[in-house]
């Protein structure tokens, strides 16, 4: 009988508490927080639940900290004067804070205070009470987390709180979360019309819980009965499931596309520097991968030099890598490649020698082990678009970054004097020379540009893969295939073919696994090049013959 009254008081308390949230003034018969706190040390668990509800009713902002502390077992009572404190345990001493004044109240030993105990029922009350606090928090994520917390253990009380919150909630994500949660609860209702309404309300909800719950409703159990007895509701649930599945398929396709584009962007990234050196100049640079490796190591060194500004380090590393790889590239061109123009196969062998030397140099300088490159915070995490579609930021950034790099390179080639010279020399070396273009100088700069771009690609790769001496080697076949597939001498071809290969790879992966998908793509490329040796977008005209 006593417990029943207590529960009644509790229920009443919730409702008035909600009323208080809705803007009712603090009533005079509401005892202050200080008085309630004073009662806590001697209260039974059941009494504490009543006290908690009353504290919420005070609408005192200090209550949140008290409840949080109580839940965390860090609300203490001082044995000497029965005063309540929030404490922070520190080995064998406890730093006390007065919850009313928020002032530090000294450090005491563990035996001069005792923890205020909680049981599971009280914890549940506390969680709901705290979530209720958070429900009115100005930050959307806090509200969303609070709703999710409340939905974990939904009872009549918390349902009432959520329904009242729904009336004043403006954020669509929070609203849909509340609606889904409430509709899920309604599915357990004994009233078939409420169940039917709930099923209909859930028809566009992508929450996995909703999907599972609806699936159970239409599933035939072992005794031949369905999860849902009413055939009409079952049909509605089936229909809702169908709609949800359609949405899921759509979002899965969007996700595959975006993942494919991001993988394709990696292909473009590793190939775009080569599209200059191989595509425009016709030089087979087997050290291209190692120039990317240099870019990745540059990122590592930049992070070592500025350990306190990791977020900025990537931005600094981009020009640094361009300069480092570009300089090495110019050295390769001046030292080796220029003696071998017109002998592509020899160039291939000589630059492969360069790649071996660079790899071993990296191994000697940085050791054979992979070096840790830190991912800055702004690159971590993911963008949650809805319950079934989340895209990690690094995938998103790689797409944007590659696109920017591509457009920048295109602008350099089409809009600058250097670009004009590069195109002139690649189209007709003799004529360009006659017109006063310093072809040797242009060759060196073009090679430097392609190498520098490889360095920038290396900065991006340092965020995606292990930075070690073998980083470049693993991309060399891919990068050549992308350039040849796109059509040699065609930047657009490289962009399109890289992304196409990425998407195809991701489309195949669910059926074949990653390695077999890669093999199939390679085999496809081998056949494709045999059908169209000049690639997707072949150069036309008299200088087309390579």
């Amino acid at each position: 009988m006593q417990s029943l009254t207590r529960n009644l008081i509790l229920m009443l308390g919730w409702v008035t508490g909600i009323a208080a949230y809705a803007g009712a003034p603090v009533s005079a018969d509401n005892p202050g927080l200080a008085a309630l706190l004073a009662k806590i040390p001697d209260a039974s668990y059941a009494d504490k639940r009543v006290l908690v509800v009353k504290m919420v009713q005070t609408r005192d902002p200090r209550v949140h900290a008290v409840l949080r502390a109580l839940l965390d077992d860090s609300l203490y009572v001082r044995t000497s004067d029965n005063h309540v404190f929030i404490g922070e345990a520190d080995q064998d001493s406890i730093r006390l804070t007065d919850p009313l004044s928020s002032q530090a109240a000294g450090v005491v030993s563990t035996d001069s205070v005792s923890t205020i105990g909680v049981n599971n029922q009280l914890r549940k009350t506390l969680r709901v009470a705290l979530a209720q606090f958070d429900l009115s928090d100005p930050a959307v994520d806090v509200r969303l987390a609070a709703v999710k917390e409340m939905l974990r253990a939904l009872d009549a009380d918390s349902q009432a709180v959520l329904r009242s919150r729904l009336a004043e909630e403006h954020d669509s994500a929070v609203r849909s979360q509340i609606q889904a949660g409430l509709a899920l609860a309604d599915l357990d209702s004994s009233d078939s019309s409420i169940r039917l309404a709930a099923v209909r309300a859930l028809s566009r909800n992508l929450n996995p819980d909703v999907y599972n719950r609806l699936s159970i409703m239409v599933l035939k159990g072992s005794e031949g009965t369905y999860g849902e007895p009413e055939p009409a509701i079952r049909a509605a649930a089936q229909e809702s499931l169908r709609v949800i599945e359609r949405y899921r398929k759509f979002y899965a396709a969007v996700q595959t596309l975006i993942y494919g584009l991001s993988e394709g962007s990696v292909f473009v990234l590793v190939a775009i520097g080569l599209a200059i050196t191989f595509g425009v100049m016709g030089v087979i640079n087997m050290a291209h991968g190692e120039l990317m490796m240099l870019g990745a190591y540059t990122t590592y060194v930049v992070q070592l030099l500025m350990p306190n500004h990791i977020g900025l380090s990537i931005v600094v590393a981009i020009p640094a890598a361009f300069v480092v790889s570009g300089a090495i590239g110019i050295a390769i061109e001046r030292g080796i490649v220029r003696h071998l123009y017109g002998r592509p196969l020899e160039t291939l062998l000589a630059t492969f020698g360069v790649s071996l030397i660079l790899q071993q140099a990296a191994r000697d300088i940085f050791s054979a082990n992979n070096r840790p490159v830190i991912t800055p915070d702004w690159l971590a995490g993911s963008l949650q678009i809805n319950d079934v579609l989340a895209i990690t930021y690094n995938r998103l950034y790689i797409i944007i970054f590659t696109l920017a790099l591509f457009l920048g390179l295109l602008a350099v080639l089409k809009r600058t004097r250097l670009g004009l010279d590069v195109r002139a020399v690649s189209q007709n070396r003799e004529m360009a020379r006659v017109m006063g273009v310093r072809t040797a100088w242009v060759d060196a700069l073009t090679f430097g540009l392609g190498s520098g771009i490889a360095g920038i690609a290396g900065v991006a790769l340092s965020q995606l893969t292990n930075v070690g001496p073998n980083l470049g080697q693993s991309y060399i076949v891919d990068s050549f295939m992308v350039v040849v597939f796109g059509g040699v001498g065609n930047l657009w071809g490289t962009e399109v073919s890289g992304n196409a290969l990425g998407v195809v790879n991701k489309l195949l992966e669910p059926y074949t696994g990653a390695v077999l998908a890669k093999i199939l793509v390679l085999v496809f490329l081998i056949f494709f090049i045999q059908r169209r040796p000049r690639g997707l977008f072949a150069q036309k005209g008299r200088n087309a013959d390579g």
Binding site: I336, L345, L349, A350, S355, Q359, Q360, P533
Partner: protein
Amino acid sequence: MPMVEGRVAELTPDRGGRRLLLLLAAVGVLMPCLNVLPGEGSMLHVSNYTMTLTAKYMSYGMLALAVDLIWGYCGIMSLGHGAFFALGGYAMGMYLMRQIGARGVYGNPLLPDFMVFLNWKELPWFWHGFESFPYAVAMVVLVPALLALVFGFLAFRSRVSGVYLSIITQALTYALMLAFFRNDMGFGGNNGFTDFKDIVGFNLQAAGTRVVLFVSTAVALGLSYVLCRYVIASRAGRVIMAIRDAESRARFLGYRVEYYKLWVFVLSAIIAGVAGALYVPQIGIINPSEFSPVNSIEIVIWVAIGGRGTLYGAVIGAFLVNLAKTYLTGAFPSVWLYGLGALFIGVTLFLQHGVVGVLGQWRRARLAGVP
């Protein structure tokens, strides 16, 4: 049609080749004798290690011959010839695995250890027949030949040439490497095959078996050399060289360029496959790293260092580079890659005709009376 083969052979006296064959015969006879006859402590004793190493170099020499045949004489630079070598090796490896029988760790009479480990219940279809030695030998020849035939037919028919061909051959060996690394392919995944016991009933560790394998490798290298030489000196060889020098002109003269290329490409793949099959029982292991593109590029550098387009130069190059590799990776492990890298650069920049070319220059200089 006049019989010109004999005259062509006369017209191109091949002193280097004859010396190579003599040297090969000497090594093929002396080394096994010195391995078996003198005792362990004797000055003249050749250790098993040295003999295995020499056998390895000889199979590499065959591989270099195969590459020189197509690159030196037909202008096809294959960056995937390691794939044919590895395929021949795998075919031999499959035979050797079946010979282990119930002596494996798991003692399964039918399935090799790795299949038992993967919980396979029966032998995959492509493993059937490999218990027979003649069948395995046929596969050593047929598998690389078939791959070369299909790949070459498609490539040469659509006139893929130069660096494009090099790049797709590289992609071919890369794709095969990825495939052989997969456990469910049924080729032992990244561990490949090892722990071989015997070949046609003879223990692989026995001195007699080693000698026979060593001599067979020497003979195979010699025969491959003679075969390549014969092909080059034949009428078809002339056409092949014409294709190398002016492909379009050869086509306009009415030669079916793609068939000549295909034919010589397949022959080259078979020589590479046989080299792989001789390599595996003596070295005792085959794994997917043999397919790695770097290996294939290395073969090309052997040929370039020895002297492209001379055949015997390719064999010399394979021996020299691998001797240096064995010595340097043992003595100064980190120097080896610098050395190899410098070799790649130096040979292409300064030694266009390889070691053989340098030797030839010296000889000509001496004949001309220059001190």
